[in-house]
Symmetry: C2
Subunit: 119 residues, 2 copies
DNA sequence: CTAGGACCTGACACCGGTGTCAGGGGCAAA
DNA sequence: TTTGCCCCTGACACCGGTGTCAGGTCCTAG
């Protein structure tokens, strides 16, 4: 498929897909005229990229990790394993922070709800 | 206390504290010469600001919410309540995403660990 | 009184992902 | 062959929080 279709099917803008390629996160076959062509697997790959972005990973890290993520069940070199472990720790910390903040905000909502009931 | 001490006690840079003030998230008493002075409560307030930043809230939202967060157990106007609820939903979605990604990455680590054991 | 550190404002720069525009080519249906 | 849509590259702009520098003031210890 060409870039427009990939964009539509993944929710990423055409601009972003080109950016992903330039950052080494995504590859494409070029036709003789230079147009990008993608196989079906690209859809999944882009979705994964966006997922990793969504949890705060940057493009460099994603580029390093992705080759080892996509063919799943693969063993990856120790360097990548370390990176993965570090990212997991970061994710856990972030989840903790989210939970903590959630409690703070939720208690505000509850307090207001209670005050409204009591009125 | 003055801004340097507040910075040291909260981990925020002096630059950031001035920025927080300009965005309406933080206030200070000014001495005759224009220097900022803060009371003890400012420490907690800054920590809260940073916590909210850490979960992806932007300064405008924080500025709207904070006056109702700090005097805890307060009832807040419906507009703010809506905003709070929206933020809670966002936080929940983000937590979900984190958990999902955590599973993806963790399975990679596990696969590699297993492969290493089997070798 | 003076020196040195802390503070003030304002301005410019950075990062990283994205939007958008310009100027140009590819390609298929009519 | 023309029309219209899709694609190409390169460049500049934006956001939002922060770093940093310049040029100036304040204040406290010696």
């Amino acid at each position: 498929m060409r870039i427009g279709e990939l964009a539509e099917r993944t929710g990423a803008s055409v601009r972003s897909l080109r950016y992903y390629e330039k950052q080494g996160m995504l590859s494409s076959q070029r036709s003789a005229s230079g147009q990008r062509h993608y196989d079906e697997a690209a859809v999944e790959r882009v979705l994964l990229i966006r997922q990793l972005f969504a949890v705060g990973m940057n493009s460099r890290t994603i580029a390093e990790l992705l080759p080892h993520v996509v063919p799943s069940g693969q063993r990856c070199p120790p360097q990548v394993l370390r990176q993965l472990t570090a990212e997991l720790a970061r994710i856990d910390a972030q989840a903790e922070e989210l939970a903590r903040t959630r409690r703070t905000l939720n208690s505000m909502v509850e307090a207001t709800r209670k005050a409204m009931r009591d009125t």
